[in-house]
């Protein structure tokens, strides 16, 4: 019981991070119908901006202020990356055959990984735990259930970011324009919506969310390298597919489920095969329910 509760806490924390990344996949898929495979690497860059800022600010400012600066700097820089990636690698291929932007995305992913590897080094980088300690929730026969302050902070920040994001998408003119372009881009243009601008903003927002996830990943694990985007990216993509690609609540739900599967698998089966468990889920979902948990059943437009 206590052990399961601990896995639940761990899984939800991890799931929140996956959910934030998954939103970026699902938003881009919704609006231009492609899987942005470079998205995981934007997340990785977010983590690196975080470690650079936090290392530079160590001792200069208080921890909360340092974290705030890290989050904001990371979101802005990743936003610029997201915007540029779409401009350079995807927009010129719009209207081309379907696989072209996908291949371009994989290329972009490799470019970003190698670029960070060269500029930041191939070794793992670490920071000390910035929010140490936690609260003991339960002590059952010597097994202690811990909720660390870091986990609590991750959950609170994610919920706040998701609330803001939900408001943006459902209530603001920009969010409405994004949904309109997603449903019928040509019609949106006839109503005066600059679809190119809307697509750019979608990339910027998705990338900023990935940046938040990247900084939180850094804080949670304390260790990053240039390759973290690949694994986290595929897991978040799995989350988006599981939730139903194109569905925003689905992305969050899928993220939480993937986080839980990973935590419980590690806790009860074996840590060694936790990634295999997640990818098996991806394969099974794609086979038996390709539209996901909250996705729409739609016929592929040819």
């Amino acid at each position: 019981m206590a052990y399961a509760l601990q896995q639940l806490i761990n899984g939800l924390t991890l799931g929140m991070i996956y959910g934030l990344i998954a939103i970026g996949y699902t938003m881009v898929y919704g609006i231009i119908g492609m899987i942005n495979f470079a998205h995981g690497d934007v997340f990785m860059i977010g983590a690196f901006v975080g470690i650079i800022v936090l290392t530079a600010l160590t001792g200069l400012t208080s921890v909360p202020l340092g974290l705030l600066v890290a989050f904001i700097a990371s979101a802005i820089i990743c936003g610029v990356y997201g915007f540029s990636i779409e401009r350079v690698a995807y927009r010129p291929l719009r209207g081309s055959f379907r696989l072209a932007p996908l291949i371009s995305a994989i290329g972009m992913s490799i470019v970003l990984e190698n670029y960070v590897q060269v500029s930041q080094g191939a070794l793992e980088r670490a920071i000390p735990s910035l929010i140490p300690g936690g609260v003991t929730l339960m002590n059952q026969g010597g097994f202690v259930v811990q909720l660390s302050w870091m986990q609590l902070a991750i959950v609170i920040v994610t919920i706040a970011v998701l609330a803001g994001f939900t408001y943006l998408v459902t209530k603001t003119p920009l969010g409405r324009a994004m949904r309109a372009v997603e449903q019928d881009a040509k019609m949106a243009a006839l109503l005066g919506i600059d679809t190119d601008r809307t697509i750019s903003l979608t990339f910027i927002i998705g990338s900023a969310l990935a940046a938040f996830a990247g900084v939180m990943f850094l804080l949670y694990y304390g260790v990053i390298d240039f390759y973290i985007g690949f694994n986290a990216g595929i897991k978040a993509f799995t989350a988006a597919v599981l939730g139903g690609i194109g569905s925003l609540p689905g992305a969050v739900l899928g993220g939480l489920l993937i986080g839980l599967i990973e935590a419980f698998w590690s806790g009860y089966a074996t840590v060694a095969y936790k990634d295999a468990a997640v990818y098996s889920i991806l394969a099974i979902v794609l086979m038996f329910m390709p539209s996901g948990l909250l996705g729409r059943h739609e016929v592929e437009k040819v």
Binding site: P173, R176, A177, R179, A180, Q183, D184, K186, M187, A188, A189, L190, L191, G192, I193, D194, T195
Partner: protein, 239 residues
């Protein structure tokens, strides 16, 4: 009398197929102009060519004397041209309210409430369906919504592409009544494309006939209604 819209020998292609051949039409201010023609004559291509999608391969599209041929669709919309397109194209997963808000995106939000009241007087049905998802509306309601959405931008020129398609006669009557009312009371300029030639010609002050991408006839609505070849080609069996 000044022209709101003028097409000057416009040719346009739909993929490799030439859909319009040197089409010239004039839409004078405060008038209803109709373009009739059979399925596939190029009517919808003409409507979309006005919005630059597809762009006219040759010829010019003039709006209040300004050449708008090369502009992107969204900028043309912001100049005051609104379209209720072929197939209605309401946003299916948005509510009626949100669809109308999309229409109002280009105008000052302060006008929104007043415009909404006018829309509800014109189409009371939309008020009943205000919170409903547009994809769940009936065909007639979707058509009303498509027209209403276009009107929310307070356009100077309204393009209507086959508003009667697939609708029951009673609904058609209601929609044509609304168009007539808008034109009479607010002086709205309308370019109406129709297969339903009988109704369209009765409504329009000026009419063109499009056959295989070419204009073959023009005149007042009443003149064309009286022509035997029009009656034979477009009105037989229609009431």
């Amino acid at each position: 009398m000044s022209n709101v819209l003028e097409l000057d020998r416009v040719s346009s292609f739909y993929g490799p197929i030439q859909a319009l051949r040197e089409v010239s039409i004039e839409v004078p201010e405060n008038q209803i102009v109709t373009l009739i023609g059979a399925n596939g004559a190029g009517k919808s291509t003409l409507m979309m060519t006005i919005f630059g999608d597809p762009r006219a391969r040759s010829g010019r599209v003039m709006y209040y004397g300004e050449d708008i041929t090369g502009l992107p669709a969204y900028q043309i919309a912001r100049k005051g041209i609104a379209q209720s397109p072929e197939g209605r194209r309401v946003f299916p997963r948005m509510s009626v309210e949100e669809n109308l808000l999309m229409g109002a995106q280009v105008v000052d939000y302060r006008d929104y409430a007043a415009n909404l009241r006018k829309i509800f007087t014109l189409f009371p049905r939309l008020e009943e369906r205000f919170g409903q998802r547009a994809g769940t509306l009936s065909g007639g309601e979707q058509q009303m919504l498509a027209i209403a959405r276009a009107l929310m931008s307070m356009p100077k020129l309204l393009l209507l592409d086959e508003p009667s398609l697939g609708l029951a006669p009673l609904v058609i009557k209601q929609i044509f009544g609304a168009i007539r009312e808008l034109n009479r009371e607010t002086g709205l300029t309308v370019l109406l494309v129709e297969q339903n030639a009988n109704q369209a010609l009765r409504l329009a002050q000026r009419a063109y006939v499009l056959v295989n991408g070419q204009l073959t006839m023009q005149g007042t609505g009443a003149e064309l209604l009286a022509k035997p070849e029009i009656r034979a080609a477009y009105l037989e069996g229609a009431h």
